[in-house]
Amino acid sequence: MADLTTEFLGIKSPNPFWLASAPPTDKEYNVRRAFEAGWGGVVWKTLGSEGPPVVNVNGPRYGAIFGADRRLLGLNNIELITDRSLEINLEEITRVKKDYPDRAVIVSIMVPCEEEAWKAILPKVEATGADGIELNFGCPHGMAERGMGAAVGQVPEYIQMVTEWCKKYYSKPVIVKLTPNITDVRFPARAAKAGGGDAVSLINTINSIVSVDLDQMAPEPTVGGKGTHGGYCGPAVKPIAMNMVAEIARCPETHDLPISAIGGVTTWKDAAEFMALGAGNVQVCTAAMTYGFNVVKEMISGLSDWMDEKGYTSTQDFIGMAVPNVTDWQYLDLNYIAKAKINQDDCISCGRCFAACEDTSHQAIEMSADRVFTVKDDECVACNLCVNVCPIEGCITMEQVPAGQIDERTGKVVSDEYANWTTHPNNPSATAAE
């Protein structure tokens, strides 16, 4: 079995699977259960300033988007930071960290955007013995209206300023959590680095409304007849998170900034993908809230199995491996030609590929009278929409056309020379080829 021990900012955990700051990490009770189930670390649910804590709505607090068979694909929450007192939280964190020295315990914090507020809370957090802090600049609801959460995360200058305060008043690693509710995530990432932040974690939740109750005529979750925008998370947001992680990982100014990836991690493969794009570890929330803490067992066995298969002995062996292959569209090889191919043994003749291609794409699939579906190479552009709508995995595959053969659609011989849009004659701003 591969060794999943991962070191992130000098913090060691037995595996790269942490729980994100959220209800699952709200109390000692939850966190202990998590550690017993095998999670490598937790980020404690966001603490607020000393004094009366925030108050949540009673409920409902969640809305959801479902796939087939009510499989939860996206979760929307209107819950706030911790609604328990700071003192109780700090006591619990101290106890838990003491009992689980080999697991990462990070404390998420959100206090007003004033130096005094941070100066007051940080020593108390330091005293708990936690391994680090995470700055919550992400909540899109409830706190933003008070000038915290996403209200900070959308302003790079504020991010840099608060991060500097944290480095001033706290001795251990500072992780800056970024909001995706922003035009270009590289700005906040650069700001976090400029402020001395040791790492960034992303994404926090996405501003959303998941559904409307058509009887009450209000967004869901509906509280007393009204609804509000909430934070969206779960499998549905993974692609947004993956892109933002990749952007930070390949941006020259931030490519050395460690990343903790959050956003729809449900199985080992999701984690491996994020890590290949440059994340040193992952934080999970929705999957745990959907299925319970035991989801980590599959993540552990799956990642370990895959590492054994590939010959990786440490997570370091593959972190960031996909980053060099993330490029801009204009640099993709326009001479790479492929065609779709339907395996007639696997095909069940549902015709979904035909519907997609004939109606909405290139009319490159032929349907015979007895429901045999074949690809017309002279029309196929290899968009691979058919692959994505086919219910049988692996039934349709994209086959590269080797150099020297003719692409039936264009009549041209396929070249093995790399060429992209920047030098294409159709491009008005093409740079001359060397």
Binding site: D69, T267, W268, K269, N294, E298, S301, G302, I392, G394
Partner: protein, 444 residues
């Protein structure tokens, strides 16, 4: 040239070889990747899953299904094998319809449970096809354990003990290992020599020596084993077969069903196996169904299961009863054997109708005769050949929760031991648990 269903007497080759091969193919063919993906997607991943509770070996079913769903069936196999080293065979023979699949919440929700058995086979097949044995032996403990009986209980105990570092010798009276897996399970549940292949795979753990042709009471004695080994595990099964106690029982054509099934399982060529035109099986359990169904699959024209009580009381599960009916076997209820008639060889069986009064079966006096060149006895098996020293309970070797018998140093498990259903999966659990107790006892 195949003879036909209607050829009289007891004949081999009633069906063409191709038809026989078809008939005896997998009752449940293996899933391909797509079928497994669709089946795995149906699991709700329950908390403290009822299926896991229902499994005698406590396999973490939601975990293994999730691993299949996440694209790594080999991990799923390991999850299964961690709890049940014979997970491959169990996937093929377990009456899931009365265990995990009965408990499945989707059985409650839609009457259609998750196909746990077939998913288990998909996972274990994947691992075994790669010829991977994902366990290794701990450092040698210097302790030696004797296992008597190489059936599921014995094999399970042996593997666990060997894995923990002990040296194990497994004795068996027969010339092959596997017990009922090899000699008793219906052929269409264990195709392509699976039982033997599984044993070969299991032995890859190392540290297990097989010693065939050794029978307790004849070649081995309990005292002798206790002297030569640090512990003894008895997994001798139930070698005795209950007699009909009807006239004509000794005629040619009247046999123990288990003997017929054993012969069938070991036959190189099924079309060379003779079967009667008319076959009657006395009994109502899984053995009766296996004998009846397989007679029909060999080409018998008329096969009847004659059971002394009513359908509800039948030991065979509803699934097995339906299977028999779907293969063309006639199920007769409330009839018991009165006499077998014939001129030295069976030709007819006379059955008497029964009534149940105060729980007891009594003949009504009304009889019926069925043509029968072959009559199979499947009315239960009993303990035979047990050492005198061990105390019995309810006709089986008395054991406590950890498998200890009344004799120090001696454990027992499987069908021969008291408690638990007489299932392969229960035998595996008992073997495993006894091994853990033996290990704890030997290591102090």
């Amino acid at each position: 040239m195949a003879s036909s269903h209607q050829a009289s007497g007891i004949q081999a080759g009633r069906l063409a070889a191709a038809d026989i091969a078809d008939n005896f193919g997998d009752l449940h063919p293996a899933y391909d990747a797509h079928e497994a993906a669709v089946a795995a997607d149906r699991c709700y991943f329950c908390y403290d899953a009822p299926c896991m509770t229902a499994c005698p070996t406590s396999i973490d079913i939601p975990q293994f299904i999730r691993e299949i769903q996440a694209g790594h069936p080999s991990s799923a196999a390991k999850t299964i094998l961690d709890q049940n080293i014979l997970g491959g065979m169990c996937a093929r023979v377990c009456p899931t319809e009365t265990l995990c699949e009965e408990a499945c919440v989707r059985e409650a929700a839609e009457g259609k449970p998750v196909e746990i058995g077939r998913l288990q086979r998909f996972a274990t097949d994947t691992l075994m096809e790669k010829d991977v044995h994902p366990y290794s032996r701990a450092a040698s403990t210097g302790k030696r354990v004797a296992v008597v009986g190489a059936g599921p209980a014995g094999l399970s105990a042996a593997h666990r003990l060997a894995m923990l570092g002990h040296d194990v010798v497994v004795y068996d009276a027969k010339s092959k290992a596997g017990g009922l897996n090899e000699f008793g399970i219906a052929a269409y549940k264990s195709t392509e020599n699976f039982a033997a292949r599984e044993v070969e795979w299991l032995l890859k753990i190392g540290g297990i020596t097989m010693d065939y042709g050794k029978k307790l009471g004849a070649d081995l004695s309990l005292d002798g084993l206790k002297a030569d080994y640090d512990a003894v595990f008895l997994s001798i099964g139930l070698a005795g077969v209950n007699a009909l106690r009807a006239a004509g029982e000794d005629m040619d054509g009247v046999r123990d069903a288990v003997d017929f099934i054993e012969e069938l399982r070991q036959a190189e060529d099924l079309s060379a196996l003779p079967v009667g035109r008319n076959v009657v099986v006395i009994g109502g359990g899984m053995t009766a169904v296996d004998a009846a169904v397989q007679s029909k699959l060999l080409g018998a024209e008329n096969v009847t299961i004659a059971y002394r009580r009513d359908r509800e009381a039948m030991g065979a599960s509803r699934f097995e009863q339906d299977l028999a009916a779907s293969k063309g076997v006639t199920l007769m209820f409330n009839v018991m054997p009165k006499a077998i008639h014939g001129d030295g060889a069976a030709a007819e069986i006379e059955l008497e109708y029964t009534q149940v009064e105060d729980g007891r079966v009594r003949g009504t006096g009304e009889t019926v005769r069925l043509a029968a060149e072959q009559v199979y006895k499947a009315i239960g098996q009993s303990l035979q050949g047990q050492p005198e020293a061990v105390e019995l309970e309810g006709g089986k070797i008395m054991v406590d929760a950890t498998g200890r018998t009344s004799v120090a140093q001696v454990w027992a498990g499987g069908d021969c031991a008291s408690g638990g259903e007489d299932l392969t999966v229960t035998a595996v659990a008992e073997g495993r648990d006894a091994a853990m107790d033996i290990h704890a006892s030997l290591m102090g």
